[in-house]
């Protein structure tokens, strides 16, 4: 694995400029992030490295990672998108897309809540 994020020459809010699709497209607060390998990738800049280190022991959502790193959600999405693109982080949607409007999702919520009662 040689592809690692390189240091940006532009600020984060301009960083999508040169991409075919904006970084972080498809990411939301509840996108699940987890490290793709046990060894830390080399050459990460500080903020990317902090995110990777946080996720090394286990999976977290974007919003949890943002809270732990005390970063804005938007910035966390950028970092995560970079790491996913570089192949050292994986991201998963909170709900499988095919089920998003499915009644079974809400039924599972209801059954789960009642079980805790």
């Amino acid at each position: 694995m040689t592809a690692v994020p390189r240091r940006r020459m532009v600020p984060a809010y301009l960083a999508t400029g040169g991409r075919s699709r904006p970084g972080g497209e498809g990411f939301e607060r509840l996108t699940v992030l987890f490290a793709d390998r046990a060894e830390p990738p080399t050459g990460l800049e500080t903020e990317h490295r902090r995110l990777w280190d946080l996720l090394r022991p286990g999976a977290l959502t974007v919003v949890e990672a943002a809270a732990h790193l005390r970063l804005p959600v938007s910035a966390t999405v950028f970092l995560a998108a970079d790491l996913v693109e570089a192949g050292c982080l994986r991201a998963r949607a909170p709900i499988p897309p095919a089920q998003q409007t499915d009644r079974s999702i809400v039924e599972r919520l209801l059954v789960g809540l009642r079980a805790l009662r």
Partner: protein, 221 residues
Amino acid sequence: MDSVRSGDPAGDPPSGPSGDPSGRVGYLPDRDQTLMKLVVAGPFGVGKTTLIRTLSEIATLHTEEAMTETGRPVDDLAGLPEKTTTTVAVDFGRLTLPGNVVLYMFGTPGQRRFFPLWQDIARGALGALVLADTRRLADSFEIMDMVEEQGLPYAVAVNRFPDAPVHPEEVLRAHLDLHPATPLLLCDAREREASLDALIALAEHVLDALPAASPATQERS
């Protein structure tokens, strides 16, 4: 904004891992769980964070969300940038349910000027629990409007404060101008079972509001 936490020293954010993850991080036990979102909405001080804290299995977390406030002067003749953004703390918590489900609860600010933030957080949510206080019911009107504009199914839970007046349900419904199908319940956000009941009532309502599925799964209500 809603980051007032009794018992926490003011201005002293909870210590967390910075760079070096410690045992304080509540990692997700699995990677294949289905993650769902509900929003807990209401005016400042109505008990949103209390309810989330009551139910959450992790210490409640928060993100700082930068918001441009509408209605504030953006231009400045002196050329000095006027501070036009404000930071809002959005609290959230997490609850793992049987059946491989993880429920996230987000406390959302109730003021109209935070509408873009509200929309952003509410996107993808299954429903909203609107909290109200009988001492100031009108403070919940704005968020109820926003929830309805978003098209999100919601339930209203009156958080019972000890010195708050008690009204019959029909009086409350009339004051809040609730649709007959919208659940209205009384709740003490400090109590787990009452808070769970509020979410259960909301989930039932969300299900009722969804279009009926295939006949095979249609025998509800």
